[in-house]
């Protein structure tokens, strides 16, 4: 980050407030306010602590849940896969041994770690938040500096509640204007990634700004910040405002001294005279429902367009990647995206598994039947989201439409549990990654918004609500 005498960006303010130690020629030592843990990236970290005879420095700033490797069916029975069961059991034992609060399968606060943090009110403005998961950037929607870490860093935070980190550069993405009906937060971020590329944000923390970002709900802002990592940025954030404060107010861990917290939160904005290292502008008025056609999240296009012709791509690397992607995806250049037939629709994940996402899809499916040519999985982001949806009758809408109503978890986003695509199967997925084999070996993924997912489920081919 630029250190000069002018004003500070929001990210710089939060960084500065968490520096424990700063020495020339070394990374800053940054204090971590909240450490989220799950079963897949923590076992080896706890092992490291045990080997070195170390304790968890701040169990009271640490919380665990089970999400990546948990089944979404029969959660009242022991996990069928013994390797998965051992991993989940290992997390439970580690949490018991080191005094870490855990929300296990069957618990009302179990769910995807990035849905659980905000719904408990543990995610608050101005915090530093880490988790051994790259989508930790989600929490940036609250004006927190939140980023994914590896297992060695998980161990580091467990032992010291700090991390040595090099200051990132700052990038502003200004999204001005008004989204057209049927265009969502997901379409904003897919368009951003297509514009700057999977490495465009590498080394930066992104601040999302502008009228279209301000107009988004907290859920929408979480969707945008969630996929910062898909543009290469470890963190993305949005300055907190009245919507942020209202979201936190009635949550279990909302500050008891609300006025003191509010006074601090009010300081969390980028100063008018602050400078970003890079600024990018996006016109919200021109955005349309966006889908991916390739095997990285930057390979996307408006749903109304066609599969691009690699021969027309000037950059040699990008052209080669596009050629390989079309082979893997079994797509021909020039095919209208709306003609692509889908086998599985997946609604869920830390990107689009919150109550608002389920509502928007249910509103499209209400009273209708999904196409007989596909299956649809609806996986709420957390047990509470599932209960809320059931209280609103959304589960009945999904089930009556012919979709499967599952229990909470990461599920088919990464295909670690039994929810996977078969080889050659094609999905329209509200998740975040369309990598080769991400949702199951040989599976083909098109990333979409919840609205596009629902419309696609009804028509059988990639579709937007406007096509219905």
């Amino acid at each position: 980050m630029a250190s000069d005498t002018s004003g500070q960006t929001l990210a710089e303010k939060i960084w500065q407030e968490h520096v424990v130690r700063s020495t020339q020629g070394e990374p800053d030592l940054l204090y971590i306010d909240l450490h989220l843990i799950h079963e897949v990236t923590s076992a080896q970290a706890f092992d490291g602590l045990r080997l070195a005879g170390r304790r968890v420095r701040r169990p009271d700033l640490t919380i665990a849940t089970e999400d990546h490797n948990t089944p979404t069916l029969n959660i009242d029975r022991p996990i069928a896969d013994p390797v998965s069961r051992l991993q989940v059991d290992t997390l439970r034992k580690n949490c018991a041994e080191f005094g870490v609060r855990i929300h296990s399968l069957g618990d009302i606060d179990q769910g995807i770690v990035h849905v659980v943090g905000p719904q408990l009110g543990l995610t608050q403005p101005g915090m530093t938040i880490v988790c051994g998961d790259s989508h930790t950037s989600t929490h940036g929607a609250f004006g927190a500096l939140a980023f994914g870490i590896g297992t060695s860093e998980v161990e580091h935070v467990l032992a010291t509640q700090t991390l040595p980190l090099v200051r990132p550069k700052t990038m502003a993405i200004n999204v001005e204007g008004e989204l057209q009906p049927g265009v969502t937060a997901k379409d904003i971020i897919l368009a951003v990634i297509a514009q700057i590329g999977t490495g465009g944000g590498q080394g930066y923390v992104i601040e999302y700004r502008g009228s279209a970002i301000r107009a988004l709900s907290m859920e929408g802002r979480m969707t945008v910040c969630n996929m910062s990592i898909e543009a290469g940025a470890r963190a993305g954030l949005v300055a907190p405002d009245e919507k942020t404060f209202a979201y936190i107010k009635d949550k279990p861990h909302a500050p008891q001294d609300w006025e003191a917290a509010l006074a601090y939160w009010g300081t969390l904005f980028t100063d008018a005279d602050a400078r970003f290292d890079v600024e990018i502008s996006i016109n919200a008025n021109e955005l349309a429902p966006f889908v991916t056609w390739g095997t990285n999240p930057a390979q996307g296009a408006p749903l109304t367009s066609v599969v691009p012709d690699p021969a027309l791509i000037a950059d040699v690397e990008e052209r080669g990647a596009a050629e390989r992607a079309l082979v893997y995806m079994d797509l021909k250049a020039g095919t209208p995206l709306k003609n692509i037939a889908i086998d599985t629709v997946f609604l869920g994940s830390c990107t689009n598994g919150r109550i608002e996402d389920l509502r928007s899809a249910a509103a499209i499916l209400d009273g209708k039947k999904i196409s007989s040519t596909l299956r649809m999985l609806v996986v709420p982001g957390s047990a509470r989201v599932r209960l809320q949806a059931e209280a609103e009758g959304l589960d009945r809408i999904f089930i009556n439409a012919g979709a499967e109503w599952r229990n909470a978890g990461c599920s088919m986003c990464l295909g670690m549990n039994p929810d996977q695509l078969a080889p050659g199967e094609r999905s329209a997925s509200t998740s975040n990654r369309n990598f080769e084999g991400r949702q199951g070996k040989g599976g083909r993924t098109h990333l979409v918004s919840p609205q596009v997912a629902a419309a696609t489920a009804l028509r059988g081919t990639l579709s937007s609500p406007a096509d219905l």
Binding site: Y31, T41, D60, L61, G150, T198, Y264
Partner: protein, 202 residues
């Protein structure tokens, strides 16, 4: 962590950009609770293709992976680093690495070297022309050098002093930070009371 000063080995040309961590090691291999034994999962899907570079006898024993731009994108899984190391790789060269992957590599002693695209392409050509050509990595001098029958080159690379020092000394980050415990204690005393705690749950 083993000290890294120099390494001499042969190269593996991976002519692909955007090699994401799901390709390096698919999620189904992440169910284990150990740090070793991930070599079977490395590039699991691609290795099923007989044409894949690691299935070429010429490159089987390579220890220096030379890949296209944006290597290690996607998931934060450190299993990607473990899989590369378990398989036998000591060094990864690419024009650009994803941040989290680069950080994870440094923690585990896997050296990531950034070289410009044209130098990576020259290296690919040289390795393919002579797979047994030794490549020398010198972290102290910050150079990648090779000499084949037809070409030779000494390419300097940039790495920050701190990471270089840690790798060369094989230092454990946690041990270094624990020396700063007094600073952490002092910082904690200044934390505002309204910051949330996970326990006890209200």
């Amino acid at each position: 962590m083993d000290k890294f000063v120099t390494h001499t080995g042969t190269g593996v040309p991976l002519r692909r950009s955007n090699v994401d961590t799901d390709q390096i090691i698919p999620a189904v291999y992440l169910k284990r609770v150990t740090r070793s034994g991930y070599e079977d999962g490395l590039f699991a899907a691609w290795r099923k293709d007989p044409e894949f570079v690691l299935n070429n006898e010429d490159f089987k024993n390579g220890t220096i992976l030379v890949a296209g731009v944006d290597f290690g994108t996607g998931s934060s899984r450190e299993h990607a680093v473990w899989a590369l190391q378990n398989y036998g790789f000591k060094v990864i060269i690419s024009p650009r690495f994803a941040d989290i992957f680069k950080g994870n590599s440094a923690k585990g002693g896997l050296l990531t070297i950034i070289l410009p695209q044209d130098q990576v392409e020259a290296l690919w050509d040289a390795i393919e022309a002579e797979p047994s050509m030794p490549i020398e990595i010198n972290l102290e001098k910050r150079t990648v050098s090779y000499k084949s029958a037809t070409s030779s080159s000494v390419m300097p690379f940039v790495i920050d002093d701190y990471t270089r020092w840690r790798l060369m000394e094989g230092l454990d980050d946690i041990g270094l930070t624990l020396k700063q415990t007094e600073s952490i204690d002092a910082f904690e005393k200044t934390r505002p009371a309204y910051k949330p705690e996970t326990q006890p749950a209200r």
